[in-house]
């Protein structure tokens, strides 16, 4: 009889030993950690590129070509940056006519190309801007590192107009430069 009681107690203790940490974890407090007081911010010293009238199948570059705009890291954290483009739309009726942004920087009928070039980046040269977000700085395979607060990078843009398009229409597009904490 005594053996049975002892065995029962051992069994219960064993069960509790196995399950109690589990139960404790089940009831663990949800923790939310905001990493320090960090703030993310970047700025551009130029955001407009008024080209005026353009010809078909022609390249246009910002001036100066690759030191046209300066990106500055503000905030308090190191960042990785990205770039993405979009179709150019007719300002008067955006749904009625557009230039499609090509996925490799080339052009075609109603298809245009966009490129960027980072100052000092001799490895990549001009890089196509597409509708899929791509690396701006740093980039895979490059020797550069994330940008720290106060760091700056200069870059320029290149536009390759469609081989032909409807004339007399004011077109507009937007290139988004984005950042995430590294």
């Amino acid at each position: 009889m005594r053996a049975a009681i002892v065995s029962t107690i051992v069994a219960v203790v064993l069960a509790l030993v196995v399950s109690l940490p589990a139960l404790a974890q089940e009831n663990a407090t949800i923790t939310i950690t905001m990493t320090g007081l960090n703030e993310i911010s970047i700025s551009l010293d130029k955001t407009q590129w008024p080209l005026g009238t353009v010809a078909s199948n022609t390249e246009y570059e910002t001036s100066p070509a690759i030191e046209w705009c300066t990106l500055t890291v503000q905030g308090t954290c190191n960042v990785n940056t990205f770039i993405v483009g979009d179709d150019a739309e007719w300002v008067s009726d955006p749904g009625a006519y557009k230039w499609t942004l090509s996925n490799d920087g080339t052009n075609g009928e109603h298809i245009y190309g966009l490129w960027f070039r980072m100052s000092g980046d001799t490895a990549r040269g001009y890089v196509p801007i597409t509708k899929t977000q791509g690396e701006f700085w740093p980039y895979t395979g490059g020797s550069g590192s994330s940008l720290a607060p106060g760091d700056t990078r200069q870059f320029g843009l290149r536009l390759l107009t469609p081989t032909y398009f409807f004339s007399g229409r004011q077109m507009q597009t937007q290139i988004i430069i984005s950042a995430v904490v590294a």
């Binding site: 053996a3 049975a4 065995s7 051992v10 069994a11 219960v12 064993l14 069960a15 509790l16 030993v17 196995v18 399950s19 940490p21 589990a22 089940e26 663990a28 949800i30 923790t31 939310i32 905001m34 990493t35 007081l37 960090n38 703030e39 993310i40 911010s41 700025s43 551009l44 130029k46 955001t47 407009q48 590129w49 008024p50 080209l51 005026g52 009238t53 353009v54 010809a55 905030g75 954290c77 150019a88 895979t140 081989t163 032909y164 409807f166 004339s167 007399g168 229409r169 004011q170 077109m171 507009q172 597009t173 937007q174 290139i175 988004i176 430069i177 984005s178 950042a179 995430v180 904490v181």
Partner: protein, 184 residues
């Protein structure tokens, strides 16, 4: 098709202008904090909240839009995977106008569905805050949201404990009954 132009040298016909609308052209200077949020031990079936602050540092009011984004694979933190469903995140507002030199707090709610398969996972998703502008160049700031769910190991341990208890009790009961029925 009257305005359809072939590429050969009709310079006068190339009347396309590639520039922002002057009324909308404006630089935007803003920040978002925190830049990274960790949520740990969130059990499936439960929800939690946190605040993001969008600070418009300009002298003009601006509109800001907020959305959930899948991070690029090469940017996801080690040991984590992409959040399976962006609908688990809800925002107190998807778009807001913030006055000059002012800030607004965005309440973000994170809820994991009550399914065992979502227990014990580590995910990453990004919240993107875009400053709306008519300029050729625009800015977007991402906040890294790193989430970990609790549960799977604990349930397995609990079940193992119960099974062990049943087996041991059964063993003890069997021997006890055999001992009682044994003829003297």
């Amino acid at each position: 098709m009257a305005g359809h132009i072939k590429s050969a040298g009709l310079i006068a016909a190339f009347l396309v202008i590639f520039l922002p609308i002057p009324a909308l052209a404006e630089d935007v200077n803003f920040s978002v904090s925190p830049a990274e949020v960790h949520i740990d031990n969130l059990p499936p079936g439960e929800a939690t909240q946190f605040e993001l602050t969008i600070h418009n540092k300009d002298d003009l009011a601006h509109n800001f839009s907020v959305a959930i984004y899948s991070p690029p694979a090469e940017q996801i933190r080690e040991g984590r995977t992409e959040l399976p469903d962006g609908s688990w995140i809800s925002l107190s507002f998807p778009r807001i106008e913030i006055g000059p030199s002012s800030q607004a707090n965005l309440m973000v709610t994170v809820a994991i569905p009550q399914e065992q398969k979502w227990a014990g996972e580590d995910w990453e998703t990004w919240l993107g805050v875009t400053a709306e502008s008519g300029d050729v160049l625009g800015l977007k700031l991402y906040v890294r949201l790193l989430m970990s769910s609790s549960g799977i190991r604990s349930n397995a341990g609990f079940i193992a404990g119960i099974i062990a208890a049943i087996v041991l009790l059964g063993y003890v009961g069997y021997h006890y009954s055999r001992h009682r029925n044994k003829p003297y």
